[in-house]
């Protein structure tokens, strides 16, 4: 048992989780529907939503994560900082989920405007857009993210 604990602790340092807090220095805002009672989430929780390991909000509604298109620089940053995987590893993760008959990847939208529109139309959605995109907080809610 001691050996197992030592091994896991050692690996934590050798293969650190690549989580960073999507805080003031991140280049995206994480957004949800205005009627969603949640206002703050941890990076780990958001990651489980986008990996579909958790599929329910606290109120029991199904989470509908939405990604930007694969070529998006913002998506790449979000994937590395919040989900903790490189884009390649994330695609491999989804191949594994698909072909084992477990899950399918989240919806993708080509632009920030499309993501915002989807969030407005879908009360249980969660997505992210560039910080440079102006957001009307009467239309979407910006999530506070903590470690």
């Amino acid at each position: 048992m001691k050996i197992a604990v030592f091994f896991i602790v050692s690996c934590t340092y050798l293969f650190p989780a690549e989580f960073m807090v999507a805080g003031s220095d991140s280049s995206y805002n994480i957004i949800i529907h205005t009627t969603n009672p949640v206002s703050e989430l941890t990076v780990a929780k958001i990651s489980t939503y986008f990996l579909k390991k958790s599929t329910k909000w606290g109120n029991g509604k199904t989470v509908n994560p939405v990604h930007l298109k694969r070529s998006s620089v913002i998506r790449k940053q979000f994937t590395q900082e919040v989900i903790g995987k490189t884009p390649g590893r994330l695609e491999t993760y989804w191949q594994r989920q698909i072909f084992s008959g477990r899950e399918v990847p989240p919806l993708e939208k080509p632009t920030d405007a499309e993501v915002i529109r989807y969030i407005q139309e879908t009360p249980s959605a969660i997505g992210y857009v560039s910080k440079e995109t102006k957001l009307d907080t009467s239309q979407v809610k910006i999530l506070k993210v903590r470690k």
């Binding site: 896991i8 690996c11 934590t12 293969f15 650190p16 989780a17 690549e18 941890t42 780990a44 489980t48 390991k53 958790s54 599929t55 329910k56 199904t62 903790g84 995987k85 490189t86 390649g88 590893r89 695609e91 491999t92 191949q95 594994r96 698909i98 072909f99 084992s100 008959g101 477990r102 399918v104 919806l107």
Partner: protein, 372 residues
């Protein structure tokens, strides 16, 4: 179904369902994968390889997921293999009702949850070698591609980064076991009487109960677990049981995987199978990989006079891969095999009678694997 129909069916499915339809409400998802390979050995036949070289390895599959409602998913995968003779099959077709993340009910023909690779058995873009380790994933009687029956599955997540994934299932397996005749009375009969050799046997294992538990650790990409099952071999009074463990460590550059299984059947046949494989990316496209793989068969009740090499498989393999991206890869591998459990001459009878059984086999394999 004719060969042409088998070839055209997936295209019709793809075009008929339509990518646009799949995007319409995120309700229908269509994916697929394929492999083609060339294999050549220095004598024995092994995997799809033979001494003169073989271009025939070819397979293709299409996977469909339909979500009619929020809680219901219907999943199916159709598989075509043209390696030896054209064959098509349903890899899985089942319905899943999601009560919660921790509890999902599955019924139908479901992918067999055992160890690491069984649920994506033929998907080449999810592994570093063109083929899976023979000791466990060849037709050894350890893994079945699917079970017909019902099961429960789910994920339990912990805020500290720990997670638990589980599967419990019951039903029936159908599994091909290569060499089953040889490892029992069949070989002696074959050897003595010169009877027609039939080294592949289909076993039905009924009343199966099984499960798998995988622990996700706070270490990014590291998990380990145990799995196993037991059931009754149809037409006999024998039981068929398997248990073992698996572990994975996946990072951006590295992947390390290992599995061990012990298989027992009522005839007193015991199989111990183990492999360890590691791979590393050198930059964005090139990947190197190495694997050690071993299977040993022992008989507790039957006193076989067959050559020990027929019960043994030891393999070292190395691979050099070029990944265009995560969906398309070229693989070149070299395999050095000791033993004749899977690597055998075209005519085993003649080789045994002539005393010319070659215990070592070298295999070169080159191929492309892709998915969408």
């Amino acid at each position: 179904m004719s060969r042409i129909t088998r070839c055209i069916a997936p295209i019709i499915l793809f075009l008929g369902a339509g990518a646009g339809f799949s995007q319409q409400a995120n309700k229908i998802h269509i994916h697929g994968f394929s492999s083609w390979g060339y294999a050549r050995t220095d004598g024995n036949e092994y995997l799809s390889g033979e001494e003169s070289g073989e271009y025939d390895y070819l397979d293709f599959a299409i996977a469909l997921t339909v979500k009619p409602t929020e809680y219901l998913q219907i999943k199916a995968q159709l598989y075509w293999n043209d390696t030896y003779e054209a064959e098509s099959s349903i890899d899985y077709a089942f319905a899943e009702w999601r009560f919660s993340d921790a509890l999902r009910f599955r019924i139908g023909d479901v992918k067999h949850p055992l160890g690491i690779y069984t649920e994506f058995f033929d998907v080449g873009t999810l592994r570093p070698f063109f083929t899976l380790p023979s000791s466990i994933y060849h037709d050894t009687g350890i893994v079945a591609e699917g079970y017909k029956g019902a099961g429960l599955t789910g994920i339990l997540q912990n805020a500290g980064g720990w997670g638990l994934r589980y599967d419990i299932y019951g039903g029936e397996f159908k599994m091909e076991i290569e060499g089953a005749d040889v490892t029992h009375e069949g070989l002696e009969k074959t050897f003595i009487e010169g009877a027609e050799e039939d080294s592949e046997e289909e076993h039905h294992v009924k009343n199966v109960l099984g499960g798998r538990i995988t622990i996700d650790t706070p270490v990014n990409g590291m998990n380990f677990g145990v799995s196993g099952y037991f059931g009754d071999v149809e037409g006999t009074e024998n039981t068929h049981s398997v248990y073992g463990f698996h572990g994975e460590l996946l990072s951006d550059q590295w992947s390390v995987r290992s599995e061990y299984y012990h298989h027992m059947d009522g005839d007193g046949e015991h199989i111990n199978a183990f492999y360890c494989e590691a791979s590393r990316f050198l930059g964005d496209h090139w990947q190197i990989a190495a694997r050690g793989d071993q299977l040993l068969t022992t008989f507790m009740k039957i006193n076989t006079n067959t050559p020990p090499s027929l019960h043994r498989h030891r393999e070292f393999a190395a691979s050099l891969n070029y990944w265009f991206n995560t969906y398309f890869v070229l693989k070149l591998s070299y395999h050095d095999v000791d033993g004749n459990r899977f690597a055998r001459p075209e005519s085993l009878d003649e080789a045994l009678l002539d005393g010319a059984l070659k215990e070592r086999t070298k295999l070169f394999l080159f191929g492309a694997q892709f998915a969408f």
